[in-house]
Amino acid sequence: MTTTTPIAAPAQAPEERRTTGSHAGRSKSELLSLYLAISPFYILFAIFGLFPIGFSLYLSFQNWNGIGAMKFVGLAQYQFMLSDPIFWKSIVNTFQIWFISTIPMLFFALVIAFMLNQQIRGRSAYRIAYFIPNVTSIVAIAIIFGSIFSNNFGLLNAALEGLHLDTVEWLNTPWGIKVAIAAMVIWRWTGYNAIIYLAGLQAIPTELYEAAKVDGASLWQVFFRITVPLLRPIILFTVITSTIGGMQLFTEPQVLVGNGGGPGSEGTTMVLYLYQQAFINNQFGYGAAIGWGLFVIMILFSLINWRLVQGAGNRGSRKGVRA
């Protein structure tokens, strides 16, 4: 933990290197220098990773407003959590938003990637264009989507009015809020996933496509018989990364509907609820307990995911498609 040791270490190292040649006979000081060389990661991880994890576990058994003394309350925070309707609602919200965003998102990404993989003019320009949403400031995106989905003056409602349809108070209705958040996720991550798919597509041997062409396969057949099966590992990878991203959904709802999650807490996601309890209500003990509740849920969800991946992998190799 002190800053002096890493400075002292390099001075010894060259000397040691001259005398020892074999792998077996490393001296203590040489080992020390090796460990010191890899230590920055572990030190930083201990401070910013390990310690907060352990501390949050400790905190989840306490009642603490962030300033005064902590009060040990045993499992009370967890009991409160299990009886907390908004906690459960936030889980349901998160999965709903994940569901209505991930499926269209991955579908669009696949179609875009497939089209980008054709011989078209200006492919790089398209690739960049599709990736740009991902590097745009999320707050700016939220403001734009806020005006699109506005209740009275939104672009979407103006379009509906133009078509003589009923307008929807998007940001006041349960599904309206979720659709608005999901639309933001889709807009932001479709291009990103398309680029990943594109990389996967380019790894598929061109002979397969050529053979299909010779056999007179249609574009549709090529897509479903060659592209999709061979892309399965990549698809699973994107499903898993989108799951992680979806479970961590925070900024989009926060900027769009505020810390409270909007009318009826319909936009409250799991992480937003954690943030609200800990940093808005100053209930750090409860916030920590929610964090561990999420941990358990994510473990369960990962297990399900893992089983799916395993199952899919086995099926794939049985059919012999996974080359």
């Binding site: 933990m1 800053t3 401070i47 310690f51 501390f55 400790y58 009642n63 407003n65 962030g66 300033i67 005064g68 003394a69 902590m70 009060k71 409160f80 009886s83 907390d84 403001i143 806020g146 005006s147 506005s150 209740n151 009275n152 003056f153 939104g154 108070e169 940001l171 006041n172 209705t173 349960p174 505020g258 409270g260 009318p263 009826g264 807490s265 940093f279 808005i280 209500n281 100053n282 209930q283 409860y286």
Partner: protein, 425 residues
């Protein structure tokens, strides 16, 4: 555990701070970001005039180092308190100053270092909000947020309602009369609404009460008439269909104000700035008058001195200078649109400006009257936890059409649940 954690946190943040900022000459007091012999002040953007801060060291003889803290101000302050490191010597505290009351011992009692002597200069109710029930003064008054009715004179006139400020104040002196006028307006001018949303009725009527959710012994009183009356008014506003369901702080709100979809709202003085920015095209059409139901306050902030301050007397000198009646008018009100808490500033000649946006009206007269008439109210440390139980249910009534009786029961049940979680019942 506790001391270990603290020293560890301090050491860790100290290490990082040294690495990131390269502060070398920390000397013996390693846990301050500014050099020994100076005082640090944390403030957020637009809470204190930068011109005034630049003048402060010379005027007070204190080497002040102001630090504008961006992002989540409160989280950063709590983090520094929890880590016992880099705590500012003077700190800006928001309207929720009461959340620090259970830990008032973490702050210097301002009364003990001379605040008592200047008490008479400030609005009494504002002063009391910074003082704990047992008399420890945590926060020194900065700006306030007296409320009033902002309305479109031209739309009122079109709807056959009174349009001169005095007449409007007279005709809509109570919330009931205001809501009734709303029904008239909506009937005469379809597609125009009286107010942006139902929540506003609940929040603003509640801001006029002399009690809120807890009494000074932190017993729950939220089922009393002071909450029930604003609640009933909100339900009434919802049933009359005179609100446009436009949420605050959205582009929708800005559009509603600039296009004339909404004819009026009750809001704090600082909403004037939001309104002028959002609806500059409607300049000259707005007026301000006394709010229905009387004076209220919404928003405002305080300055506190954490216990670890290196020189509380000098720190208080700075606070005293920054918030002197003179500086509250010149640098607060006229430069930053921060409404004063010093009584003489309210009446200051320099505050009486004719405003073109309001058709040449001297709006300060309205706000000054409101500011002086605000009832003292005990804001408890737990209001920000219990309040949402009620306001969320008000939202459920208008957004989801929830039965108001059901919603009230649910609000009380939720308040109960939160109170037992906090260990208060």
């Amino acid at each position: 555990m506790a001391p270990n954690r603290r020293t560890f946190l301090a050491a860790a943040s100290g290490l990082l701070g040294t690495a990131l900022l390269g502060t070398s000459g920390c000397g013996t007091r390693g846990s301050y970001l500014t050099p020994e012999g100076t005082l640090s002040l944390w403030y957020w953007n637009r809470s204190i005039s930068d011109t005034l801060l630049a003048k402060t060291p010379k005027a007070t003889g204190v080497k002040l180092v102001p630090q504008k803290i961006g992002g989540d101000f409160k989280s950063k302050f709590l983090t520094s308190l929890a880590g016992k490191a880099y705590i500012p010597d003077i700190v800006g505290l928001n309207e929720d100053v009461a959340t620090y009351f259970p830990d008032a011992d973490q702050f210097v009692d301002l009364n003990e270092i001379g605040a008592k002597d200047v008490k008479s200069e400030f609005l009494d109710w504002k002063w009391e909000r910074g003082v704990t029930p047992d008399g420890r003064m945590v926060g020194f008054p900065m700006d306030t947020g007296p409320t009033a009715l902002f309305y479109r004179a031209d739309l009122f006139e079109k709807a056959g309602l009174p349009s001169e400020p005095d007449e409007v104040a007279q005709a809509m002196s109570t919330w009931e009369k205001y809501l009734e006028a709303g029904s008239t307006l909506v009937k005469k001018l379809p597609k125009t609404y009286m107010m942006p949303n139902v929540d506003m009725v609940f929040n603003q009527a509640l801001a006029q009460q002399g009690k809120r959710y807890m009494d000074e012994k932190n017993h729950f009183i939220g089922n009393g008439p002071q909450v029930r009356q604003p609640w009933d008014l909100a339900v009434d506003a919802y049933r009359r269909r005179i609100t446009s369901n436009t949420n605050d702080w959205t582009s929708d709100w800005n559009a509603a104000m600039s296009t004339g979809r909404v004819a009026s709202f009750v809001g704090a003085v600082w909403m004037g700035q939001v309104l002028t920015d959002a609806a500059s095209g409607t300049s000259g059409k707005w007026r301000v008058c006394r709010a229905p139901g009387g004076a209220g306050n919404s928003g405002g902030s305080f300055l506190g001195i954490p216990k670890s301050c290196r020189n509380p007397e000098a720190a208080f000198k700075v606070i005293r200078y920054l918030q002197s009646p003179e500086n509250q008018v010149v640098y607060g009100l006229n430069e930053m649109q921060l409404y004063p808490s010093a009584i003489s500033s309210l009446e200051d000649r320099r505050a009486q400006v004719k405003d073109k946006f309001y058709g040449g009206q001297v709006i300060n007269e309205v706000f000054a009257t409101s500011a002086k008439a605000v009832k003292p109210v005990y804001l408890s440390p737990y209001d920000n936890v219990i309040g949402p139980a009620f306001s969320d249910q008000v939202t459920n009534i208008w957004s989801a059409g929830k039965n108001p009786d059901r919603a009230w029961k649910d609000a009380l049940a939720e308040a109960d649940r939160q109170l037992s979680h906090l260990g208060l019942i």
